[in-house]
Each structure stands twice: as C-alpha cells, then as structure tokens.
C-alpha cells in the first residue's frame, strides 16, 4: 500500500519537473527573442551626422515685427537615407533687432500656418489657432508657443540650427 503511495508521489513530482522545465525553457527562449526585438524596434538609431547650420538668407531687409517666410534647403537623415529637402522658417526681427526663426508648423496638429497682415498675428487655417508675433498662443487649440530654430548671425546672413519646442528663448 505504502509502495504504491510513494511511487504515485514520485510520479507527481516527476511530472511537476517536466512541466516546470517546459515553462522555464520556453520562457527563456521568449525572453531571448522578445527583449532584443523590443530594443531593436524602440531604441533610436545612432546619430550619424552632427546638426548642421543652414544659411537661410539675408536679414537686412527685414522690417521690425513683420515676419517673412524664408525658404532654404537642409539635409535630413531619414533612416538609411540623407534627404535634401526644402523647408521654411518664419523669421521676425523684433524692435531691439533680435532675430527669431519659427518652425513652419502649427504646434497643434502640424498644419502650415501663415502671417495674417490684417490682424498682425499668425493664423493656422486648420483649427484657427492664433499666435502673436513673438510666437505665444493668443487663442485656439494650440498647446504651446511656436517652435523656434536655434539661430546664429554671420554678418548679415542668418544661420539656423536645430528646431526646439516652443517655450524657451533662443535669440540671435
């Protein structure tokens, strides 16, 4: 009677070992595949190129507080390619001769906004966000002020660098 009991118990513990090993080994395999896969998909690619300063144009003709849209070409790293693309910036000279260059997209959902001469405000046609000449939100759904390029002056030429999220001050 006792012999049967012990062999039964032995059978259960053997079975438990097999089942445990099956779960353990499959867990290890899944982790060894899943973790590298997540790293591969989620980690940003290594940066290949330092940010470049792009010549946007001459700023002597600017009138204070009247934004001008300036077009330029810049190189953008897109995956395995470097793309040369046309881009624009809204450039404003303020009363103290400081230069600000705004990114061309509304901070709400990325539409292209424009300068409304009559109102003297930036108007986004998509959802009617209004920005003041210094980029601050006047009204509408935009969550933050306009994005600003880092700027640098070389004589009378304006160079722009990285585009920073609106909120900070970057004046040349």
């Amino acid at each position: 009677m006792q012999a049967i009991h012990s062999s039964e118990a032995e059978g259960t513990s053997r079975r438990r070992f097999f089942v445990g090993a099956i779960y353990g080994l499959w867990g290890a395999i899944s982790a060894a595949l899943g973790v590298p896969a997540l790293i591969y998909l989620l980690f940003p690619p290594k940066v290949r190129k330092a940010e470049e300063w792009v010549d946007v144009g001459d700023i002597t003709r600017l009138t204070p507080n009247v934004p001008v849209e300036m077009a330029f070409r810049k190189n953008r790293v897109d995956g395995w390619k470097v793309i040369s693309e046309k881009s624009t910036a809204w450039v404003v000279k303020d009363a103290a001769n400081g230069i600000t260059a705004f990114g061309p997209q509304c901070t709400h959902l990325g539409c292209a906004y424009h300068w409304d001469d009559a109102k003297s405000e930036f108007l986004c046609p998509c959802h009617n966000s209004l920005f003041a000449v210094d980029g601050k939100v006047v009204s509408g759904p935009a969550p933050r002020p306009l994005d600003r390029y880092e700027t640098r002056l070389q004589g009378t030429r304006l160079l722009i660098g990285r585009l920073n999220q609106g909120g900070g001050e970057h004046k040349a």
Partner: protein, 545 residues
C-alpha cells in the same frame, strides 16, 4: 480569483472549444518507443517560426530594391541597436534550419517511418525540404552585396539551362539577360509573400498527416502500453529546441555575418560561391563539362529529388528494428560521404580570400573618409598606446583627458609642442614625451584635430591592413603626386577608384617598374618590402570611388 479564472476558461472553451482542442493535441497517445530521436520535427517548426519572426523584424527596416536594400541593411547593422543580432539570428537560423530538416529526414529514413500508410507524410516532407532550400536561394540575393549578386547570376543561369523549360524559367526569375530590379523583386516576393504561406500550409498538412496516422511505431511497440505526448515527449522536444536555440543565439552573437561591398556587375574579378549547403551541387556541376553540363546542373539533382519523393514506393519491405536496416544505414552513410567529399572539394578549390584585407561593410566604415595622413595618425595612436591613458568618447582609461573633447580647443602647433614636451605645455602632466619625427607627429595631430565623439568609431574600426597601408603611403610621400579623398596633389592620377581601373597584380607590378606598364609615367620605381606593398595596395583598393 481562481474561481473567476475557471469561469473565464469555461466560457472560452464553451464558445470556442479551445481547451478541448489543446488537450486533444497534448494528450495524444504515442508509441512506447517514442523518445529523443523524434525531436527534430518540432525543432524544425520552431526554427521556421524564428525565421518568420526575425524576418519580419528585418523587413521593418529594409527597403526591397537593389541599392536601397544594401544601404538599409547597413543601417540595420551599424545604426540600430540589436540589428546585428537580429540579422545574425536570421542568417544562421537559415543554416540551422537546413541542418535540422535534414536530420529530421535522416531519422525518418533510418527508422523506415515513411512506410505504409505514411507515404504522403514523407512526400509532403520532401516538398518542405525543397521549400526550405528555396528560402535559402531567394534570401541569398537580398543583401545585394557582391556575394549575393554573383551567386544569383550563377543560379539564374543554371535555371536557364533546364531542358525545355529553361528559357521560361529564366524569364520567370526575371534573370533573362541580367540580374537586376526584376529578379530582385521576384526573389523578394517569393521569399516573403509566396513561400511563407506555402510553408504554413505544407506544415499544417504534414502535421495533420502525422496525427492522422499517429507517430510511427517501432516493431515490438504493439505489446507495450502507449504513452501520452504531454509532458514527457513535449519536455524532450522543448529541450532539443532550447539547445538548438542556444547554439543559434551564440552563433548570432559571436560569429560575424559579413557584408561585402555593394553589388558591382562590372567586377570581373569576383569569384562567386554559393552558401555552404549548396556547395555539393556546385562541385557536382564541375564534374561535367560541355554538352554534359546539364547532367550535373539539372538532370542529376532532378533525379535525386525524384528518388527522394519515391522512397516509400522503392522500399516497401515490412517494418523492422532500426539496427537491422543495414541497407538504409549504408545508404545514409554513402550519401553523407558523397556530400562531405563534394563539399570538401568545393571548399578546397575556393581561393583563400585574403580575409585580412577585406573591408567589412557590416561595421561602420567612417575610416574610409579619412585622409592617408589621418589614417597614419591612427597608426601612431595605436603604436604609442595613447588609449592606455586617454578616454575616447567615454571608453578607455581616464588617466589623461578625453581626446574627443580636447581637440576642439587646441590647434596643431600646440599639440605638436605638447607631444614633444608634455609638461611644458601643461604643467603637472604625467604624459611621457612621444618619440616620433615631426611628420609623424603632424599626422597624429591632424587625426586628433578631426576626432570627435561621432567619428571616434573610426579609431576602432580602421582595419590593420589599411592603417599599415596608410603609414607606407605617408612614409613614401605618395601624396606629393597623388590625390586620396580630396587631399594631395594632381600630378599623378587620383587614387580613389583605382580598384575599378586596374587589377591588383597590375598595381603590384606597377610599383616595381612604372614605365613598363604605363609608358611615359614619371613615377619612380618603389622597391618596398612585400608586406608593405600588399598593405598599401589593399588600402588603395579599399578606397571609395
């Protein structure tokens, strides 16, 4: 909690029958003789799933057109974290799958498990073997490097030789005339769109047939009680799968999968070789020449596949114990010897690639953009063991300053003065003076001036042969007449793209006696030691066009 869980389980089973299905699958009865020899089928299915998974991950960052394919693969390898591992798993997983599928077939063959009523199971299995090989063939082209291109040129030519259907087959593969965008698109389409669902369907049929007829019993099994698939056999399958995966993972991490230069259809010197599991076919082909060539390329392989499919009808004897199947054992032995012999002969006839002078494009190659002077600077940097005290981009021993940071603030004159008498320029410095000539110090300074965090990898990746070659280039002042990467003089021809214009032997001979090969040249002869000559030539051949 447990009650709720059981409740959900019951509901799900009631609506879908999933629990019943899983139980039916796991508690299927198998013969008493089942055991470790039957683990290969499960391992093959597992490896197929690994290939599907890693393949999908690669496809997320891969552009399936020539040119872009190569660049995007380089992006995966050099810029994405874990990209090298994923590609390694996919590459070695393919090889491993062939090995496991063949082992599975050998086991079934040795045990005679293909016999009545399991003939159809075997035949579907042979088709699955062919599908596995088709993956290898089509996947081989996808990196679009020289190896991929030239290997596929040969493959499509062989297909074109097939009797009667050859021209149509060649047209189907898009290889009529040349391997190009059409062939690439068809191979990619087959590899990712056609073959995977076909494989799934065939595996489903194969497994269904195995279940329908049951796992093949060995003689004597009738007297013994049958076992359940779960958990003992599942455990054995899992252990086998784990071992296979562990080997695969170690290979993916430790064995570098090379990436050669971008496919170059004008490269006349390239000697293509197929993947190792096709080498025996490649060698068979060489046994026949002239009009008999199609015997080796199409007829023999075709007959072999036919024989393989017909095995269950050729051997219709009664099931006996595996140890008494001497004919089958002898057959497998002979096949193994034949395969091994042909493969060994093919390997032996493969010219020793000067792998030490091959540029590895699976790693960053920013050193290719450096001038010879800067490359020589890397040489002095290594020779003087600068890294034993200086940190480069956060790596190394931090006794001296991080050189990726300092170069921004200093000029060449300061650096050279500092190299000669470190403590004068920087009081209290424990750096020993560097015993090099002014020209050599100049090279070192010019490299350090260019050093920043982004290009510091060049210091690690510049291969020894190229650094040695650049040192020879500098020592012999080749730059006084020649142009490399935009630096130097235009008295002689620029040396970028030399590999395109001349053969290696021509260049080696030219050094010894320039006028013999290019009459009127004002280049003096160079009697360099053989090693220097080889390194210099390899370096010049590696330069970008």
């Amino acid at each position: 909690m447990r009650r709720r869980w059981n409740g959900i389980n019951d509901w799900l089973d009631n609506r879908t029958g999933i629990r019943t299905a899983v139980r039916q699958f796991l508690y299927e009865e198998i013969p008493a003789s089942s055991g470790w020899h039957q683990v290969f089928g499960s391992a093959a299915i597992f490896l197929f799933l690994v290939q599907a998974f890693t393949g999908a991950l690669l496809a997320f960052n891969y552009a399936p057109t020539p040119g872009d394919a190569y660049n995007s693969l380089r992006y995966i390898l050099t810029e994405l974290t874990g990209g090298r591992l994923i590609r390694g798993l996919h590459h070695w997983g393919a090889s491993m799958m062939i090995v496991v599928v063949v082992l599975h077939m050998v086991q079934v063959f040795l045990y005679g498990a293909y016999k009545k009523p399991r003939e159809a199971t075997w035949m579907v299995g042979v088709v699955l073997l062919l599908v596995t090989l088709a993956y290898g063939l089509t996947g081989y082209l996808l990196p679009w490097d020289n190896r991929a291109y030239w290997g596929t040129v040969v493959t499509t030519q062989i297909a074109g030789q097939a009797p009667a259907v050859g021209p149509y087959l060649a047209r189907l593969l898009g290889g009529e005339g040349a391997v190009g965008v059409v062939t690439f698109a068809r191979f990619y389409g087959m590899h990712v769109l056609l073959l995977p669902p076909a494989t799934l369907l065939l595996i489903a049929i194969h497994v269904y047939l195995v279940r329908k007829h049951g796992v093949a019993p060995a003689p004597g099994d009738e007297q013994l009680p049958r076992k359940q698939f779960y958990p003992v056999q599942v455990f054995k399958d899992t252990v086998a799968i784990f071992i296979a995966f562990a080997i695969l993972f170690v290979m993916a991490v430790a064995v570098r999968v090379p990436l050669e230069q971008l496919a170059d259809p004008t490269d006349t010197a390239y000697i293509p070789r197929p993947e190792w599991y096709f080498l025996f076919l490649f060698q068979t082909l060489k046994l026949f020449s002239g009009p008999l060539e199609i015997v080796g390329s199409v007829v023999l392989p075709g007959l072999a596949v036919l024989a393989l499919i017909l095995v269950p009808f050729i051997d219709r004897a009664r099931m006996v114990r595996v140890t008494r199947r001497t004919t089958a054992i002898a057959f497998v032995g002979l096949a193994a010897i034949g395969w091994g012999g042909l493969t060994a002969a093919a390997v032996k006839s493969t010219p020793k690639e000067a792998s030490a002078t091959q540029v590895d494009y699976s790693a960053p190659t920013d050193w290719l953009q450096l001038s010879p002077e800067e490359m020589a600077g890397i040489g002095y940097f290594r020779k003087e063991n600068c890294a034993s005290c200086h940190v480069i981009g956060g790596r190394g021993t931090a006794i001296g300053p991080d050189l990726t940071q300092t170069a921004i603030h200093k000029d060449a004159a300061w650096m050279i003065a500092h190299f000669k008498r470190p403590s004068v320029m920087r009081p209290g410095s424990s750096m020993p003076p560097i015993q090099l000539s002014d020209a050599q110090l100049n090279a070192l300074a010019s490299f350090l001036l260019k050093l920043n965090e982004k290009n510091a990898t060049a210091l690690d990746n510049a291969p020894d042969f190229a650094v040695a070659g650049a040192l020879v280039y500098q020592a012999n002042r080749c730059g006084a007449c020649h142009l490399v990467n935009g630096g130097g003089m235009r008295i002689g021809p620029p040396l970028n793209g030399l590999a395109k214009r001349q053969s290696r032997n021509w260049v080696l001979e030219h050094f010894k006696n320039p006028q013999a090969l290019s009459p009127g040249s004002i280049m003096p002869p160079y009697r360099l030691p053989q090693g220097d000559l080889e390194n210099l030539t390899s370096y010049l051949f590696a330069l970008p066009d």
